[in-house]
Amino acid sequence: MKIDVNGEKHDIAASTVAEALDLLGWGEMRVATALNGAFVPAATRATTQLSDGDQLEVLTAMQGG
């Protein structure tokens, strides 16, 4: 599966958002996710399917004004 994760290209053997997070090493971390510009709640990551060319955003806390 070829997808973009935070703007970088990845080729990973994941069929769902949850699997992608596990393979990327973020499975146990507190993150917020969006797929192709739409919010993916944590509760639906395991059932949100990935397709080639998808854009996954994985965000976390950062300083802000």
Binding site: M29, R30, P41, G65
Partner: protein, 253 residues
């Protein structure tokens, strides 16, 4: 203090968490400012996010995530949804930027996003201008707090349009108003509070001071002084002098 979506803040100070020389200095600045609210953001995972979140939680004050950097309603709405889950709060500082040089809000995208988010149960703190027509649209959309800019973000210019800010205060006597952005000196904070504003929100003026903790304390004191002045009924301004010492009883020398 006025009610912010059912929450009464202990102080009229809201402070950003960005641009400090170190996490330790940031913690000192928050302590010295007596800020009631800390603004935060969400960015791509690059390590350290969870530690930062824990540090902000340890401040023991309200967390207000922002949608900084969003240029469309869609981006801002998605960011707000992610922030609500991540930070476990339905408060959102809504920024929809329309111009990269001035970081001025896009009023059309702002109203669109505010409506969608209010309908979705968010408690929206919109970063807006002092335009009272735009403010009315935001209130129509469901916003019960408005945060007009004092000047462009990070500029330190103070209150560029005192007339507009006063007019906004007069037009919305029952809506909590926060001057957000552009403050450079504690006197700017006092000026905003003397106008009857309910709080101030700033970041750069504290974080980029040579001594952020001392500047944070100065801003906190100024905001509280301005608030106390506003509650105390300022005297009217007159064109001509009026002697404060009684004239009656003066010796004839």
């Amino acid at each position: 203090m006025r009610d912010f979506y059912g929450t009464t803040l202990d102080t009229p100070m809201m402070l950003g968490t960005a641009r400090y020389p170190s996490p330790k200095v940031m913690e000192e600045a928050f302590r010295e400012s007596r800020a009631s609210v800390a603004t935060v953001s969400l960015r791509r995972e690059g390590g350290g996010g969870e530690a930062f979140r824990e540090m902000v939680r340890a401040l023991g004050i309200h967390v207000l995530p922002n949608t900084a950097g969003c240029h469309t309603a869609r981006e801002a709405i998605t960011t707000a949804q992610m922030a609500r889950e991540y930070f476990e709060t339905d408060w959102i500082k809504l920024e929809v930027i329309g111009n990269d040089d001035t970081l001025q809000p896009d009023p059309f995208g702002l109203v669109e996003a505010a409506k969608a988010l209010c309908d979705d149960g968010f408690k929206v703190f919109p970063y807006t201008t002092e335009d009272s027509v735009l403010a009315a649209r935001l209130v129509d959309a469901g916003c019960r707090v408005l945060m007009p800019w004092g000047a462009p973000i990070g500029s330190g210019q103070g209150l560029n349009n005192p007339f507009g800010l006063k007019a906004l205060r007069a037009a919305f006597p029952d809506i909590p108003l926060v001057v957000d952005a552009g403050l450079g000196l504690p006197s700017h904070a006092a000026q905003a509070m003397e106008m009857g504003y309910d709080a101030i929100l700033l970041n750069t003026a504290v974080a980029e001071a040579q001594d952020p903790a001392a500047m944070a304390r100065a801003f906190g004191l100024a905001a509280e002084a301005g608030a106390l002045a506003a509650r105390s009924g300022p005297m009217p301004v007159r064109d001509m002098a009026q002697p404060s010492t009684p004239v009656i009883g003066k010796a004839w020398l």
